[in-house]
Amino acid sequence: MTGMDAILHGGLQGYLVVALLLFFLGLATVLLRRTLLMQFMGVELMLNAANVALLAFARFRGGDAQAMVFYLFIIAVAACEAAVGLALIIGLYRHRDTTDSDRAASLKQ
């Protein structure tokens, strides 16, 4: 399989393209959305993109268990980030009564 074929038919390149696009969609969410929760979801998406790439590589490395272990850790870390991130968002909401990141901009210059 080469080129477009590989992408379209589930070759390694295909997974990577999906991973990269997912990654950039996540980044786009962070850059374009202003609701903190959305941005947070964008970050989760970016982590997930890394997961897709990781596991795709693992598959093409003959089912590398090392990568699978790393995937577990990444999930754990993602959960941690979720916990702390959401806690921070809640903390901010308590003070400002908003989850609009653009309105949480009193620290500047």
Partner: protein, 164 residues
């Protein structure tokens, strides 16, 4: 199959990006996660697929949705009236990066070689393999991951609760 799951994933993500309603956006993301889980199945990795659904969709996304409800921020307060520089620069940048990424993937000789070599290699990811690797090679990582979880827990509590 691949193209289906890939589309589910990407469209879900795109929907999340574009959807004004946060709850709906969250649901779009759940779809994307399902798509990813599908991809994992295609990658002969049912364990990962299961974990993806359990942890991501089941735990993280529920948590997020819960917070969304709690904070009562169903909708963004204003439409996407962000600064045009931010918006257009972001879009331009993302476009360039995405195109560049695709080109990169296609132009990578190493990747191509790997793809060709890897398609012939054994593929299955079993729990046994994972367990061995986890407890033989990554004992340290395992412990550290535990610490990360503990720290995150303490942190989250410290941030939201008056006392432990």
């Amino acid at each position: 199959m691949f193209i289906t799951f890939a589309l589910i994933t990407l469209l879900g993500a795109l929907g999340m990006l574009l959807q004004k309603n946060v709850v709906v956006a969250g649901l779009c993301m759940v779809a994307a996660f399902f798509g990813v889980a599908g991809l994992f199945v295609l990658l002969a990795n049912p364990v990962a697929a299961a974990l993806q659904i359990i942890v991501y969709t089941g735990a993280i996304m529920v948590l997020v949705l819960f917070v969304i409800m709690m904070l009562n921020s169903h909708q963004e307060e204003e439409a996407q009236a962000s600064h045009p520089v931010q918006r257009w620069l972001s879009l331009a940048l993302l476009a360039v990066l995405a195109l560049g990424g695709v080109k990169l993937v296609m132009g990578s000789a190493g990747l191509k070689a790997l793809a060709e070599k890897g398609s012939t290699m054994p593929q299955a990811m079993t729990l046994e393999k994972v367990g061995t690797a986890l407890f033989a090679d990554h004992l340290l990582g395992f412990e550290v991951a535990g610490l990360v979880l503990l720290a995150a827990m303490i942190g989250a509590v410290a941030l939201t609760k008056r006392n432990l």
